[in-house]
């Protein structure tokens, strides 16, 4: 298992250089008309998402080293950062993201970068699998000593086997989700691993018209006093 994971790490490292180069080459085009400008923008965005996924894969390997510090993190700020980054992509795909923050506890105990990736992966998933006529939802609520972040999509519902794994608390390995074409399950695997590291509860609720992905994070009690 160890050598298998290290193989992933090496592959991730090898993939980063060409992805970064593609991104820079896209920047270097001059005098583009609007259509080609759109293509350039898409090339940059796709490269950046791929680089992020490669970086996340490297982080999965480094979780064992315990290098990611847990600290009080503003959950609303992280959700805003992610939704801002993906906002353009939602617009480009003619989809909308509805946000509702009703939590009173502002700070959770988490690692900022890992939490960012969890929400990023959930939202990216919602973007891919929500129909154009529907909107994905990003909700933050309080829930008995935890803050719950819910990302609801309106697409094919989650298969029972994956739902069971999530109910258990984590996804063992990336598994292609048959009812969601093009899905490798990698984003869910990464989100699951990061959540587990942060002692967060990860889960999903199956709906007839989609899925809600949930991460529940412990409230940071000390620092909440100062907010």
């Amino acid at each position: 298992m160890e050598s298998e994971v290290d193989g992933i790490l090496v592959a991730a490292h090898e993939l980063k250089a060409p992805l970064a180069l593609i991104r820079q080459l896209a920047f270097s085009f001059d005098g583009l008309n609007q259509e080609n400008e759109n293509i350039r923008t898409e090339m940059i965005a796709v490269s950046e998402r791929a680089i992020k996924q490669v970086n996340d894969l490297s982080k999965v390997r480094r979780l064992e080293d315990g290098l990611f510090e847990m600290e009080p993190v503003s959950i609303r700020a992280v959700c805003d950062e992610v939704s801002h980054e993906l906002g353009q992509l939602f617009s480009y795909n003619e989809k909308t993201l509805y946000k509702k923050y009703s939590n009173h506890s502002k700070l959770v105990t988490a690692n900022h970068d890992l939490l960012y990736s969890v929400i990023y992966n959930f939202l990216l998933n919602a973007l891919h699998y929500s129909d154009k006529e529907t909107q994905a939802k990003l909700l933050i609520k309080d829930n008995k000593g935890y803050v719950k972040v819910v990302v609801r999509d309106y697409g094919p519902t989650l298969p029972v086997d994956i739902w069971r794994e999530l109910k258990r608390g984590w996804v063992e390995k990336p598994v292609s989700i048959a009812m969601r074409p093009g899905s490798s399950g990698l984003g869910l695997y990464i989100a699951s691993k990061f959540s587990k590291y942060m002692n967060a509860k990860v889960g999903a609720v199956r709906h007839r018209d989609g899925t809600s992905f949930i991460v529940e994070l412990p409230i940071s009690k000390q620092a909440s006093l100062f907010v």
Partner: protein, 116 residues
């Protein structure tokens, strides 16, 4: 004059283009750049990759620091490794760019400041 030291030729060309200057030289390793400096061609600014064929970027920086005329040369590190939290100002490093996420505007900002 600006030096770019990077073993990835295409990446170096992208950085060169972002500089928007004529007087830019690309070196694929630190030894070639050091030879040029030894010949008296002192750049105003260096964009330096860290993982290079042969001596790495930090070896190159240490070499520069050991001579009085190059000890304070402005260097911008350009790397895929994460140095975002490192303070390398004592090495003459005036900036750190992450290859994965840098933009041409960020590169140009250093050119405008150090290589007018």
């Amino acid at each position: 004059m600006i030096f770019i030291i990077d073993d990835d030729k295409m990446m170096a060309e992208c950085i060169k283009k972002a500089c928007q200057k004529d007087d830019v030289k690309i070196f694929s390793n630190a030894i070639l750049a050091m030879e040029e400096i030894s010949d008296g061609k002192i750049p105003d600014l260096i964009f330096l990759d860290i993982l290079l064929d042969g001596p790495d970027g930090f070896t190159f920086i240490n070499e520069l620091m050991s001579y009085s005329d190059t000890a304070n040369m402005p260097i911008v590190i350009v790397s895929s490794l994460d140095y975002s939290k490192a303070d390398l100002s004592s090495y003459g490093v005036v900036g750190i760019l992450n290859k994965d996420m840098m933009t041409p505007m960020e590169i140009k900002k250093y050119v405008d400041k150090y290589a007018i």
